[in-house]
Symmetry: C2
Subunit: 659 residues, 2 copies
């Protein structure tokens, strides 16, 4: 399927020969009559202004709308970056303001280009949204017989968006690079886990490349427990058979610990290769966070004029934020325990006591519908709660969302399995459910949805066109240009909270739930690692195809680690230790003869709760007071603004000397 | 006792009026005959050269020897710092090479001075060891009829040390500041936990100030569990009595978690106040670490000329280091388990079965002597093992030593207590031992030893003098100058591995063992927190007196966190969770009726082992590959060397603008 699509789109690319056109603007098609009328047409004006800003413009008339494709010479981008005061890594490992005449001081991308895809996209947006009315009077623009005024110093694009003229601004696929990736990566079935990570990075940006690097490494590492798991099933260990499961358990936990540790190493190696200074990008994030804070502070500094008031203010803000976060987490946890847990248990119980298969299917159908709504509501509540947290920076908010939504999914995915495992000691039923979940649910649904959406939209567009034209010549209408096909493709969005996360949220969620499943029930079914390894090997290609063929090119994001998901993986390893112990108890004590004193059980539960406090609660108290951070950020900001030029000159010289 | 000493030394200070004399050099007294002979006297030459280097020199003839006291004008220190290429924090939060003419760019100390005590001491050492023979010929020097040659470009002081002329170079107490600290701090009995941390910092440097800040905060926080512990003993909770101990247990663990987290905040606040940029001092440490590595690399770079060979080399080095560390830790752990554990258990068992008190005392005496030797041998073995680890930087080696030696002491301090608690369920005996250990052993012995040493040395010196003079006038010989009293005082050294650690090792060890004791046996004896709080309140003053009055001024050290000890505190909290659970089992099941299935017990043990693996083993794999670190350090070093001057100028300007 993927191969077929790739070929089909290849024809379109050959017609266009549009390399370097990286951003598209969608405007409605004008009727010829309107175009001929008096007054200046707003789309024509937009094109003129875009050309005036130094961009290369190509207008494409498509079936559903008209498209303005934009490219930019490097000089235009560089000047935009300098105007934006974009911070960029230099050869001394410090991020400084970009200057066009000191280009030699800045670290180049692994593929030799000056700007990364994210930086280019930022520059494009800055350029096209930066077109303002610089004359001293209002300009009257016309669109389809309607007139409106473009006020002084108003952004043209924002105005056109609010008038409904500009429908969408979206990043375009680069046909040459896309083809290359399709060949080397998505359709490269020879080596299952190898991926051209650097090319993925330069095409999709850090966040997506990090996801694929993680997925690849995870799949490679899965090979070891998969082989061990297979061995436990195939080989008869004779009198040592009772030792096999505990040994497998210990192996799997150690494997996970080392895997996550080596992932951290790999991630920092990737960051170094991509010229992202990890410890200094931390500063950058802080800079974003403290941008608004800093503004409010300068006002107050003028008011009070002393440092201690500012410090007190920062401390108050910090603790207020911590309390808010604790409150919100408590709400979510309570909702999960009071609403979701009884529901899940009721379902599991009813499923267990229902006799006929038909009733079971009916029950499952009702459950799936109900849980869909519950999850959607939970996601909305989480997004709203997060808006009232004063999270610092977008990545911090999205981490907060990830934790909350994962809580919902965790309960939903595992509590039923647990119920089967622990209460009924029904290991066989557990195995059946595990296999079902791993194979059926995941890839098929996930990958068919975007294609169906695309087909539907395409059908609508073509159908409408046909209807309009009333088929004068009877020829069939086809979508001929690449850009309109891309416009009709769905974008890479999260199923939940589109403003904070993109489609990576769903991909990571799937990966995490899979990891949780195989780790937490490792002892019940060692063979599960084989299924997971196979599943992931296809997942890499499926996700690659989805991104390259079925979706719009995603908007690049800044984050360069897997962030909150790593903490969730760590948490799942700890959970896996506890659940596998429970499973071992169930397996070795199949008749339920083992007795435990209630006092001892209470003490054991208390011990586990306290270990949770020890390793969990310390996250609530930040290790560095906010005022210390603020001070440091202020110093760095001073360095970046004041000393930038001198520094850049000396770095350029140094660079010349080293070469 | 402390007050008496303080006054006694006050007289000496009034006679001298030597402020700013911060370093002393000890040389033997010359007989008058020798001084009159021909040829140049080496001590006179040394004094002349020191004066030539811009230092202020004062010669003091004391009873046991002659002393050369050194002070320096700020200009001399500044030039030395610039020559040393000392890195110093600037107002933009970056450490740059010091330049005397751009002083305004560098962050000043909280007390307004330019250099911290550690920086001053570094400059002094650079100046006095930097005196070399700059002439073209050897210079013949004479000492007490013996002649020797001072070769070209040889350091005079190193030569004199190897000839046995210079006995010691040591930092001198500053009489005015010492008096002030004695009044405000050591003898300030009004507020028990308040300490003038900034003054301690500017007098003793970061490491000691951090110790006292930690001790003060720990003592203040101990107040809460002490009150709770007292309440559990005094108040009768009636029917809820059985809930008191678990509640206390949960409270204590949460207390410890929050205490350690808030300490991290406090530590970073202290660093910000003292102008130590934490995240950049990390770079500095790396700079030290990689200094030698860098040198070896540049050689190899010339040889191979490509980056990948260097990367491979760094990776090999890194893993070799990790393997060495694992091997060494395995040796220590095996030694502890195979040698120390049986010994400790044998002692505990013999103690328990011995009937008469006399035999018990005898047994304890033998045990104490044996354990002394064992610990000393263990310490020596650890120090030797660490020499073969390629630890990066001194602080990393000392952390490695701390972990190893703490292992020895951990076993020694707690295994006996456990034996009593768990095997004999003898809680009363456990309480008795706990009180004994907390009260008797600690303060008395620790604080009397330095005073006894000092008295003995003083007696020897005076006695010798008397003997030499054959008491011609019969008048008693007294030590009259401060500097000779200081010379006779013991220095602040660790009982173990003097080359890697100073006296703080023993102080922290004591604190850690106390924390372990009160945390791990909290449920057996809640009142123990009161004893610990009282003990620590006196410990602050006792340690202050020891440092101010009884010891030489310690050599300042660079580290600004409590380092490895924090990890040990965290480890003790986790241990405390497990041991208190065991204690609760013993307490609630006094008759030993609770039974546990062997299978369940095995699974529980496995669970705890795996949790240990999860939280412990990840430390063995560094999160950042060595080559990434090396790259970053290289960039920063480039920035610091090449761009230093330009940057400094702009920072000075910026500073002037801000004022």
């Amino acid at each position: 399927m993927g191969a077929g699509l790739g070929e089909g789109e290849g024809e379109g690319a050959a017609v266009e020969e549009a390399t370097g056109y990286e951003v598209g603007i969608v405007v409605p098609k004008l009727s010829r009559a309107a175009a001929a009328g008096g007054g200046e047409d707003c789309v024509a004006r937009l094109v003129r202004e875009l050309e005036g800003a130094g961009l290369l413009v190509e207008r494409v008339r498509g079936v559903p709308a008209e498209f303005i494709k934009l490219a930019a010479p490097m000089g235009t981008l560089g000047r935009a970056a300098a105007e934006m005061q974009m911070k960029k890594l230099t050869y001394i490992g410090m991020e400084l303001q970009f200057e066009w005449d000191q280009v030699a001081a800045f670290v180049r991308q692994p593929d030799g280009s000056l700007f990364s895809w994210r930086e280019r996209y930022c520059c494009f947006r800055y350029l096209i949204y930066g077109i303002v009315n610089k004359t001293n009077s209002e300009i009257t623009l016309k669109f389809d017989h309607k007139e409106f005024h473009w006020k002084q110093n108003e952004s043209l694009l924002t105005r056109l968006e609010s008038e409904g003229v500009v429908k969408l601004v979206f990043p375009l696929h680069d046909e040459i690079k896309r083809k290359q990736l399709l060949r080397n990566w998505a359709l490269n079935w020879l080596d299952f886990t190898w991926q051209p990570i650097d090319e993925i990075y330069s095409y999709f940006g850090t966040k997506i490349a990090t996801y694929f690097a993680f997925l690849g490494m995870y799949t490679r590492w899965l090979f070891f427990p998969a082989v061990f798991g297979l061995a436990t099933q195939l080989i008869d260990f004779g009198s040592l058979q009772w030792l096999v499961l505990p040994a497998f358990f210990i192996f799997v936990i150690s494997w996970a610990v080392f895997f996550l540790q080596f992932w951290k190493r790999k991630n920092s190696a990737l960051l170094a290769r991509w010229g992202i200074n990890c410890s200094l990008s931390e500063y950058k994030n802080m800079g974003n966070e403290l941008g608004s804070l800093g503004d409010s502070l300068t006002v107050e500094e003028k008011k009070f004029g002393d440092v201690s008031a500012e410090k007190r203010n920062l401390q108050r803000n910090e603790w207020f934020g911590v309390l808010l976060r604790i409150r919100n987490n408590a709400i979510i946890v309570l909702a999960i325990i009071c609403l979701q847990l009884p529901f899940e248990l009721a379902y599991a119980h009813l499923y267990e006591i229902t006799e006929t298969e038909v009733m079971r299917y009916l029950l499952t159908a009702i459950y799936l519908v109900a849980i869909q709504y519950y999850t959607r509501i939970g996601g909305k509540v989480s997004v709203n709660l997060i808006k009232y947290e004063n999270n610092q920076g977008e990545e911090s908010s999205s981490a907060s969302l990830v934790y909350k939504v994962f809580g919902l999914y965790f309960m939903q995915s595992y509590i039923g399995l647990f119920y089967h495992a622990s209460l009924y000691r029904d290991i066989l039923a557990l195995r059946k459910v595990l296999i079902q979940r791993l194979i059926v649910l995941e890839n098929l649904i996930e990958n068919s949805i975007p294609y169906l959406k695309y087909s539907y939209k395409k059908y609508i567009a073509v159908h409408k066109k046909k209807h309009e034209k009333e088929s004068p010549s009877g020829k069939s209408v086809r979508l001929s240009t690449r850009v309109e096909k891309e416009y009709l493709k769905p974008s890479y969005t999260a199923s939940i909270g589109a403003e904070l996360e993109d489609g990576l949220f769903d991909d990571f969620l799937e990966l995490t739930l899979q990891f949780g499943m195989i780790m937490m029930f490792a002892c019940a079914f060692p063979l599960i690692f084989c299924f997971a390894a196979l599943n992931n090997a296809t997942e890499i290609r499926a996700d690659a195809l989805k991104l390259l063929v079925m979706l719009k090119r995603p908007v690049p994001r800044a984050a360069a680690t897997i962030g909150a998901w790593l903490n969730i993986f760590q948490f799942l390893v700890v959970m896996a230790i506890c659940t596998n112990c429970l499973l071992l108890v169930c397996l070795y004590d199949a008749e339920g003869n083992w007795r435990i004193e209630p006092g001892l059980a209470a003490i054991l539960i208390m011990e586990h709760a306290l270990l949770l406090i020890k390793f969990g609660f310390s996250h609530f108290v930040p290790e560095e007071p906010a005022w210390v951070k603020a001070n440091r950020v202020r110093y760095v900001a001073q360095a970046q603004t004041v000393c930038s030029k001198q520094l850049l000159k000396s770095i350029s010289k140094l660079d010349a000397k080293l070469d």
